[in-house]
């Protein structure tokens, strides 16, 4: 009888522990900062905004595994949008790494997308000009250079699939309006806390 009591106690302790663990992992992976991009196209940027159509800027960390899902979603958005934007995919390249470090499978996936310009961002200068600190953050500026969307295009970290950011961008590029203009970004930080 005593043995059974201990077994019950141990079972309850185990179940509580693992349930709490799953809960903590869920909380940790669902808490991400919102985007804070400039409301107008930054004049000092080396990128050129289009004046005949919207311009989409996707900033990413080339080693971030979570960004793989964002690239998939970007491909989905570009395939489904009727008004194809001028698109830049900008990969961070810290100066401490040799040239070529940024040319990962993510780079090649982005380069394979139609009508997309893929660039290397030395030391994250462009990312800072656009106020972007998280890999996968996507900005959409209209033809006048006004920000009309900023945020992530995945539902959570590394999770591909239907999500609010993807829906908003497709709506903006198709109908010119969307239910939301900003979403949380799920991805690796582009800068360590001491760098940003």
């Amino acid at each position: 009888m005593k043995r059974r009591w201990w077994l019950w106690a141990l079972s309850i302790f185990w179940l509580t522990g693992v349930s709490s663990g799953l809960w903590v992992v869920g909380v940790r992976e669902s808490s991400w900062p919102d985007a804070h991009a400039p409301q107008q196209w930054p004049a000092q940027s080396a990128l050129t905004a289009a004046t005949d159509r919207p311009t989409l800027v996707f900033l990413a960390h080339p080693q971030c595994t979570c960004t793989r899902a964002s690239i998939q979603e970007l491909a989905e958005i570009l395939a489904r949008a009727t008004n194809h934007p001028k698109t830049y995919v900008v990969f961070l390249k810290p100066s401490s790494f040799n040239t070529g470090w940024e040319r990962t499978d993510l780079w090649h996936s982005a380069a394979a997308l139609p009508d997309v310009t893929v660039l290397s961002d030395d030391n994250g200068v462009e990312a800072q000009r656009f106020g972007v600190y998280t890999s996968g953050e996507t900005l959409l500026y209209d033809r006048s250079g006004a920000l009309i969307f900023s945020g992530g295009i995945t539902g959570s970290r590394g999770h591909a699939g239907e999500n609010a950011g993807e829906d908003a961008l497709i709506d903006l590029l198709t109908r010119g309006t969307a239910a939301t203009r900003g979403t949380s970004v799920f991805g690796c930080p582009l800068f360590a806390s001491s760098e940003s």
Partner: protein, 249 residues
């Protein structure tokens, strides 16, 4: 068709009754032994499966998301730690029970719950990929190997609760989408119950067949070990057998 009958005296009837009771007891023993052997064997199988799932989760996390990058620096991804420590916590306890206490009812229930919790972790590690939900359905089929339909109940409750709670708070974790219908968990639970119904019917039929098999084995053993014809009990038994026998004319 001609029925061959024999008239039994009171002493023979008493012997037949004792014989039937003895045969029933033996059948019950045989059934219990067979059932315990299945439970023990399945507990050990799950102990191995738990270890395999734990390792598979770690390998998967290392393969898909080994590092989380912070600018120019990288750290081990939280998925790797979750696969190692949370996966270990989920798998280790039931695996130990399966090895040290095989055949116990509590071991089966713990394994059933752990199997579904491991499914929840794998679904999370794969970003709520709908394909990983197949783990739940595969697990239910594995649990049916116990031929104890009651094991499916706590497992189903865990799946339903997991989908309900994560669907409410982090739908992306379980469905891979940021916004999900509040009733989507019911759809998933309904599919699980659909499989449960088939498995429960199968388990019950299997148990009935095991009981029939045990009864036939017990009767056969009695026949084989009965005293030779002419003895009081043997004569009664054979008379009884003949009474039950029908043969074509």
């Amino acid at each position: 068709m001609t029925a061959v009958t024999a008239t039994l005296e009171p002493s023979a009837l008493h012997a037949e009754s004792a014989y039937s009771e003895s045969s029933a007891r033996r059948a019950a023993d045989l059934f219990a032994q067979h059932q315990l052997a299945i439970h023990k064997r399945t507990d050990r199988m799950f102990a191995g499966l738990m270890a395999f799932q734990w390792i598979a989760g770690i390998v998967f996390a290392f393969w898909v998301s080994p590092l989380a990058w912070y600018g120019a620096t990288s750290r081990t991804h939280v998925h790797v730690w979750a696969a190692i420590f949370l996966g270990g916590a989920i798998c280790l306890f039931p695996a130990i029970l399966g090895l040290l206490r095989p055949g116990e009812t509590s071991t089966r229930y713990t394994i059933g719950i752990a199997q579904m919790l491991m499914g929840a972790l794998l679904i999370h590690l794969t970003g709520g990929r709908i394909e990983t939900h197949f783990h739940v359905f595969g697990s239910l089929a594995f649990l049916a190997v116990y031929r104890d339909w009651r094991v499916l109940i706590p497992a189903t409750v865990v799946v339903a609760l997991d989908h309900l709670l994560r669907g409410m708070f982090w739908p992306q974790s379980v469905y891979g989408v940021l916004v999900a219908s509040q009733w989507r968990w019911l759809e998933h639970a309904a599919w699980v119950i659909f499989e449960d119904v088939v498995l429960i019917v199968t388990c019950r039929r299997s148990i009935a067949e095991m009981k029939e098999h045990a009864a036939r084995t017990a009767a056969l053993e009695q026949e084989v070990h009965a005293p030779p014809a002419g003895g009081e009990r043997g004569g009664a038994v054979r008379a009884s057998s003949r009474r039950r026998t029908r043969r074509s004319a």
